[in-house]
């Protein structure tokens, strides 16, 4: 194991942090790590989602599987998920995956008794665990809208129709089913490095400059109203679409601008479904990534170690 150390020390700089959205820079690493992080965030950070539905009464227009599928897709607050057990690994319950360590029970009872259509929403789901509830998207600061927002519609009932069911939510990962994926979108881009050839740019007329600036569909460049100079406004808006470079070539000025992607610098955008906070999602992903690496390191030493990782074993076997 001797030799040159390739160890790097990646740096993270947080730019923006909201509950449902995070933006950060990841520097001093390469695409494999960035992509691994992205993949883990989408597919391997555990959340809780409804996995088993027992329908007692369903006289709605939607069939049982349809409703079960819709219930499964409702994001549930899953701060607990990291600490929970997978039902399949749970030894507290004898395999039916319905104990408090590995599952959360929900009940839904709705019946429409008047002539107005009744919307059955995620708010009608009654949880057995106050920490695992359907995600509330309404803005708490806005009183009026919270009155109206009724959560995610599951089904609409007309007079006389009824829906009664029991649902079991379990821990899972996005690799097994998309409903467990905590991430709506995770994406990263290479940070662009833009150099404008100032001399060449000065040889352009103001009209040409304008044309050139407008050739980019995103507003990467702008003309300074005072100095009449082209400047980079926001390099990150650049989508690597090469439009400006093509435009420069078409204008007979190749090399007017030089754009390089920084190979070791990434800008991440993480949007959460609301199941866990975007920041937590990133942290959890890093944790899981670490665990996976640990597993690799351990398995190098002992072949038998493979089966002993508990919950990690699944990660390893799966991918």
């Amino acid at each position: 194991m001797d030799g040159v150390s390739y160890q790097r020390f990646p740096r993270v700089k947080i730019r923006e942090l909201r509950d449902d959205c995070a933006k950060f820079e990841l520097r001093d690493t390469d695409a494999s790590i960035a992509n691994a992080l992205r993949r883990v965030m989408i597919a391997e950070v555990p959340t809780i989602a409804i996995d088993l539905v027992e329908i007692e009464v369903n006289s709605s227009v939607l069939n049982d599987e349809f409703i079960a599928h819709r219930l499964g897709l409702i994001p549930l607050t899953s701060e607990r998920a990291m600490g929970m057990r997978f039902s399949r690994d749970c030894d507290a319950c004898d395999g039916d995956g319905q104990c408090e360590y590995c599952s959360v029970e929900f009940h839904l009872r709705a019946k429409c008794r008047d002539d107005q259509t009744l919307d059955v929403t995620s708010k009608d789901l009654v949880s057995s665990d106050h920490s695992v509830v359907p995600v509330d998207y309404s803005d708490p600061s806005d009183y009026e809208s919270s009155e109206q927002s009724r959560g995610i519609i599951i089904v609409k009932l007309r007079r006389g129709q009824e829906l009664r069911l029991r649902a079991i939510a379990r821990k899972g990962i996005g690799k097994d089913h998309a409903k467990w994926s905590p991430a709506a979108t995770v994406t990263f881009m290479y940070e662009p490095d833009i150099h404008i050839n100032e001399d060449m740019m000065e040889s352009l007329t103001i009209e040409e400059k304008k044309q050139w600036v407008e050739s980019s569909p995103t507003k990467v460049f702008d003309i300074d109203p005072v100095t009449q100079q082209v400047k980079v406004v926001d390099p990150e808006l650049y989508t690597y679409d090469d439009e400006v470079i093509k435009k420069a070539e078409a204008m007979g000025k190749p090399g007017l601008v030089e754009i390089r992607a920084k190979e070791d610098s990434f800008i991440f955008t993480v949007e959460s479904t609301g199941a866990i906070k975007a920041s937590q999602l990133v942290l959890n992903a890093i944790d899981i990534l670490k665990q996976k690496l640990d597993a690799v390191r351990l398995s190098e030493d002992t072949v038998e170690a493979d089966d002993q990782f508990g919950e990690l074993g699944a990660h390893m076997r799966g991918g």
């Binding site: 996005g174 690799k175 998309a178 569909p217």
Partner: protein, 1179 residues
């Protein structure tokens, strides 16, 4: 939804079905009964006095709304949904009065019940008539129910529209089969399909085709069919028989069309040969020594006396009159009119043989009309009633012959005898005709085919259902034809039949679809009143005479073209117009058509065939008849204020009209023929389904054809009234979407009520190779989130009453066994499954108890996939026990590898992989992952540019939050006056590209994507955007076929075939050949022997037979073994040769079992097969 919630435009698409049925109910039946000849029965045995002649006829038909009937008590309205669920027929009682009249006595009327006739949905007798969407939904129907079909045994059936030759129009034809008729015939004839009319223009739809053959000697024969035999009469004889006239007059009439002065002028049709032919025609009659009308009638009468039944006792001249009336030009009542028409036809025939006019093309829409459901039922019913009357007469006469106490003078007695042939059979016969689409008829009803008149209207999806009503079939007799000329797309069908919407393959060009604007004329005028053709014609004639037409009077001889043109109104020569004035007359008629519909009906066809050199035979052919195609165009001579310039034109007149496209140009027309009309919109040439393809003008045309087919096999939102349906199989898409890019037809026809697909984000790239050769990669996570999820609803109907009647009178009921508790988890105490229960293959879903044998039997699920019980409906009607149930199962059909998908541009593909989200490429800026990846190779050769446009437009549309209009040919429509022509040059691509650019996307619709696996940028930009994708009904779950071991054939012991029975796929000769070619001997042996009918046979090496081996009874050996002796080699062999009586030579040989079977088969033919065995060492 803020849609226009009226379905007027949809309803209009099926009006031709409903209107024709309505007319049948209103008037058609009555007219038809009037036209049935009264029965005359003589009591010739007892008395010959006059009072013993009984006349029976039918009057006053009554058709009632569908009722629930039990015996004779009515129990309220029978609704269509009940019929569909209970597998009943939606029929109404059909009654009529029989009038018995003994000569010289008063008429006695008796009610007679003719059974039940199927009632068309939304016709006047249907309970759904006039119901608004709300009412319809409360009646458990679709809100957009259009009607136009029948429900028979719970199945929805539509009468197929068939192409018929245009009625009452003499058509010149060349057919080599005419030559073989008889000696001296040529291949030329003028043919006219006459539809019966009587009194004041009442039409009963029955038709007789008359052919006027040209003979090599210059004469002509009039051919027509009576009772399945063709009769040919000399034209001269018919002429003379029709009118009492001189030879001179006939000669003049025939030769008037030739004038030496004009013989070389454009439009001249006669030649100097006409005079000679006229002479030959007249001489022929003279040679038979028939000189007067009376002579001719006498001659004809004698000839036909034995042929026409019911006239045995009439005088020959009466018989001749009947023949002339009932078989020759039956659309005319007046002999003078018949005479004139025959003269006209002769002139046309002569001109045609002289090649001064061209033959008419019977395959062209110009000379065609359509057979409508109401008309088909009317003529079929007429035939059945006539049969019934004939039978009734026979029965009465038989009874009279029997000399028992049958009283001929008592009406009750007569009626009882007549009732022996139950009149209720008639309703049943019609129902059966609609059920099977087969005509059970002797005469053939002047139809080209006997079968295929109705089809089941499958509700696979709405577009397919709709297409059944718009489809027009050329006729089953053409399907087998080797020639392809009938399938050709002819320019005559422009605007009436869609050039795009026809299936490829076997029925290509034979099964066409009407364009969205095409209608069919009916008996109803625009106010919804029954047209009075007598008044209409009178009014037309008045207008024509006012415009300078000389009426055709019997003795008046008019010169022919090019000086004067004949005017035919519905096949009657009504007069002549000078050719110098004809253009003015036609223009005036057209104006009146639009502006004064009370004078000239709006759907009058003004078929003006102008003078030409060797073109179509000139004349002015007016038709008012129903069942013609019509379509609206703009008449440019009328100001377009208030949209009152819409003229309805037919395919006959269209050929000779100047109609320009509405793009504002003149279409390369020369100034001598300025356009008189203008198309309303270019999309009027497309059918409804073809109109839904976005920007179909940017696609290669076969792709649009494919889309029309695939749209009809899409798994979409087929029905809204799903809970009330019991269709055998229904496909249903769980989460359909409205397309972002849509045409104007989409909104017009409310397709949003029945959406057919999903807006999928499609990336065009070659990724991982799993999208090669039209395969496509689906995003597994998208599928898990519900994309393209679907179900199949399948209904199983179990009728115990039906079963028990077949297998004796054993009383059966639904009940579960109390002994076998294992079924209780699947079957409820009533013997039926729990709703919502999942049932796996081979598990029982209902249990039937047999009272007689005291046993319970379960019905087990077949098939290979688990199903869920969706719905159980029971029929509780007046039975002690439940006898009839519908059990509807739900198969979940979520996308899996092997399912078929297609865009709206004929780009179909099969799902080859379901990649998880993380492996899909993603966009760096938006983070979007595509739902679907297709290969770029799908585009270059197929040239479906519209799909690319759709992708770009939908991307822009979704960014804007607006639907994008993709109506084809939008660029070829004149801009409305407000818009300047300056804004024209902006192309569609430019418009769409700039839309994307304004939202910060690439102008060309491409995006920079990163590999989902490596996180690196893909080397080129990827074209990505939403495309509306349809899921096609072909799914692997219904088709896969695998087996390792399983059932084998009884005789050959080879694996059986057939997916249903768990059989294998045949490893056939060609497969064998390829194995041999590869030298894969082991594999070949494995396939054909080891995995097939591997068998170890005992062969006797002494006699070489495979068949003579027999087993020794083991007991015998057991007895011998007791002695404790070591078993001898002989004893260890259990087989012995029966022929050699020894087991010495027995050897085991591995062989296919069929080989042994072959030996047995040969033995049965007394052929012995001997095997010579060696151990392979010597060889």
């Amino acid at each position: 939804m803020a849609m226009n919630n009226n379905y007027k435009d949809l309803e209009e698409l099926v009006t031709h079905h409903v209107d024709s049925y309505d007319y049948m109910v209103d008037r058609g039946l009555e007219v038809m009964l009037d036209n049935i000849k009264p029965l005359k029965i003589h009591d010739s045995f007892t008395n010959t006095s006059l009072s013993h002649i009984l006349v029976i006829n039918l009057i006053n038909p009554r058709l009632y709304e569908p009722q629930k009937e039990q015996g004779s008590t009515k129990r309220g309205a029978l609704l269509p949904f009940e019929c569909r669920q209970a597998k009943l027929s939606y029929t109404g009682r059909f009654e009529a009065d029989v009038c018995f009249q003994y000569q010289g006595r008063a008429v006695i009327r008796e009610k007679i019940n003719f059974g039940h006739l199927p009632i068309m949905l939304k016709s006047k007798l249907c309970h759904l008539r006039g119901a608004d969407p709300q009412k319809l939904t409360s009646l458990k129907e679709e809100a957009a129910e259009m009607g136009g079909y029948f429900i028979l045994n719970g199945l929805e059936r539509v009468v197929r529209l068939l192409i018929m030759p245009k009625r009452n129009y003499p058509m010149s034809m060349v057919r080599s089969s005419f030559r073989d008729r008889r000696e001296g015939f040529t291949d030329k004839a003028v043919v006219i399909r006459c539809v019966r009319e009587y009194q004041s223009s009442l039409i009963d739809q029955s038709s007789v085709t008359v052919k006027l053959h040209y003979l090599r000697n210059g004469s002509a024969r009039l051919g027509f069919w009576i009772e399945g035999r063709e009769y040919l009469l000399p034209a001269g004889m018919v002429l003379k028989a029709l009118v009492d006239t001189t030879d001179r007059e006939i000669y003049e009439k025939l030769t008037c069309c030739y004038n030496e002065k004009y013989s070389k002028v454009k439009g001249a049709v006669g030649s100097e040969l006409v005079a000679e032919r006229a002479k030959i025609i007249l001489d022929e009659v003279q040679d038979l020594s028939l000189f007067t009308q009376h002579d001719c009638l006498q001659h004809i009468g004698e000839h036909f006396q034995p042929v026409v039944d019911g006239l045995e006792n009439e005088t020959p001249s009466n018989v001749a009159h009947t023949v002339l009336k009932d078989y020759i030009f039956i659309h005319l009542n007046n002999y003078d009119d018949k005479f004139n028409l025959l003269i006209f036809m002769l002139q046309k025939l002569f001109s045609f043989t002289d090649q001064t006019s061209a033959p008419d093309n019977p395959d062209s829409l110009q000379n065609q009309e359509v057979l409508l459901p109401g008309h088909l039922i009317t003529i079929y019913l007429k035939e059945k009633l006539e049969d019934w009357m004939r039978k009734a007469k026979k029965l009465v006469q038989e009874e009279l012959g029997k000399k028992n106490n049958f009283n001929f003078l008592a009406v009750q007695d007569v009626k009882k005898v007549i009732d022996k042939n139950p009149p209720t059979q008639i309703g049943l016969a019609v129902e059966n005709m609609l059920k099977t689409g087969r005509l059970a008829t002797q005469s053939g009803l002047d139809m080209q085919q006997r079968a295929g008149f109705t089809v089941q209207a499958e509700r696979l999806n709405f577009l397919r259902f709709l297409s059944f009503f718009r489809a027009v079939h050329r006729g089953a007799s053409f399907a087998g034809l080797r020639t392809t000329s009938v399938r050709k797309l002819l320019p005559e069908s422009w605007g009436f039949l869609c050039p795009v919407h026809t299936p490829d393959g076997e029925p290509c060009g034979l099964l066409n679809h009407m364009t969205c604007y095409c209608r069919v004329t009916s008996y109803f005028d625009s106010q919804g009143l029954v047209k009075d053709f007598f008044d209409i014609r009178k009014s037309i004639l008045n207008v024509l005479t006012g415009l300078g037409m000389t009426s055709s009077l019997p003795k008046l001889v008019q010169p022919g073209p090019p000086q004067v043109l004949s005017v035919l109104l519905d096949g009657r020569v009504v007069g002549f117009i000078r050719s110098s004035e004809i253009e003015k007359v036609v223009a005036h008629l057209r104006r009146l058509k639009v502006l004064a519909p009370s004078l000239i009906p709006g759907d009058l066809e003004v078929g003006y065939v102008p003078l030409s050199i060797g073109g179509a035979y000139p004349g002015l052919y007016l038709s008012t008849s129903p069942s013609r195609f019509i379509r609206p165009v703009r008449n440019l001579s009328i100001s377009s204020e208030g949209g009152r310039d819409i003229e309805l034109i037919g395919p006959f007149e269209q050929v000779f009209m100047e109609i320009r496209c509405s793009d504002g140009g003149n279409g390369g027309r020369s100034d001598t023929f300025p356009a008189t009309h203008e198309e309303i919109h270019p999309t009027a040439m497309l059918s409804v389904v073809a109109n839904l393809t976005p920007w179909s003008d940017h696609n290669q045309s076969p792709r649009n054809m494919y889309q029309c087919q695939m749209a009809k096999q899409t798994m979409g939102f087929s029905l809204q009234s799903l809970p009330f349906r019991a269709d055998q199989k229904l496909y249903h898409l769980q989460t359909p979407q409205s397309p972002i890019v849509r045409t104007s037809a989409y909104t017009k026809y409310n397709i949003d009520e029945y959406p057919n697909g999903t807006n999928a984000i499609v990336a065009v790239l070659a990724y991982t190779g799993y999208d090669m050769e039209d395969a496509m990669i689906l995003n597994k996570s998208s599928v898990e989130r519900g994309m393209c999820h679907g179900q199949i609803y399948q209904t199983e109907t179990i009728d115990l009453a039906d079963e028990s009647s077949r297998s004796g009178a054993a009383q059966k009921m639904f009940k579960r066994s109390n002994i076998d508790k294992s079924l209780h988890s699947l079957i409820d105490s009533d013997g039926l499954p729990y709703v919502g229960q999942k049932i796996h293959p081979n598990e029982p879903y209902c249990s039937v108890y047999n009272e007689v044998t005291n046993t319970t039997r379960t019905n087990n699920r077949k098939g290979s996939d688990p199903v869920i019980v969706d719905y159980v409906a029971v029929d509780t009607k007046n039975k002690k026990y439940l006898q009839k149930v519908n059990i509807r199962f739900r198969h979940t059909r979520n996308p899996i590898i092997g399912d078929k998908f297609s865009s709206r541009h004929g780009q179909k593909g099969v799902c080859s992989q379901l990649w998880p989200d993380i492996d899909m490429p993603f966009s760096g800026t938006t983070g979007m992952r595509p739902d679907l990846i297709i290969n770029p190779h799908a585009f270059p050769s197929r040239m479906t540019i519209a799909m690319l446009l759709e992708s770009v437009a939908a991307k822009g549309g979704s960014l804007n939050g607006k639907f994008v209009d993709a109506t084809p040919f939008a660029g070829s429509v004149k801009k409305s006056k407000g818009e300047e022509i300056n804004s024209e040059p902006e192309s569609l691509v430019d418009e769409l590209g700039n839309m994307l650019k304004s939202h910060g996307f690439n102008y060309h619709g491409v995006e920079v994507l990163y590999s989902g696996v490596y996180g690196t940028e893909l080397t080129c930009e990827i074209f990505m955007g939403p495309v509306y994708y349809q899921r096609l009904r072909h799914m692997v779950a219904d088709k896969f076929q695998v087996r390792a071991t399983g059932a084998v054939d009884q005789i050959t012991r080879q694996p059986i075939k057939g997916r249903k029975r768990g059989g294998g796929i045949r490893f056939g000769e060609m497969e064998r050949d390829s194995m041999l070619a590869h030298g894969a001997a082991y594999l070949l042996h494995d396939r054909l022997h080891t995995c097939s009918d591997y068998h170890i046979a005992d062969v006797c090496s002494l006699c070489g037979s495979v068949l003579t081996s027999s087993f020794i009874q083991p007991q015998k050996r057991a007895v011998r073994d007791i002695g404790g002796l070591p078993p001898t080699s002989n004893a260890s062999k259990r087989v012995t040769c029966h022929a050699c009586q020894t087991s010495k030579g027995m050897e085991t040989v591995a062989m296919p079992y069929v080989f042994r079977y072959l030996a047995a088969e040969l033995a049965s033919m007394n052929i012995k097969m001997t095997l010579h065995l060696n151990d392979g060492l010597e060889a």
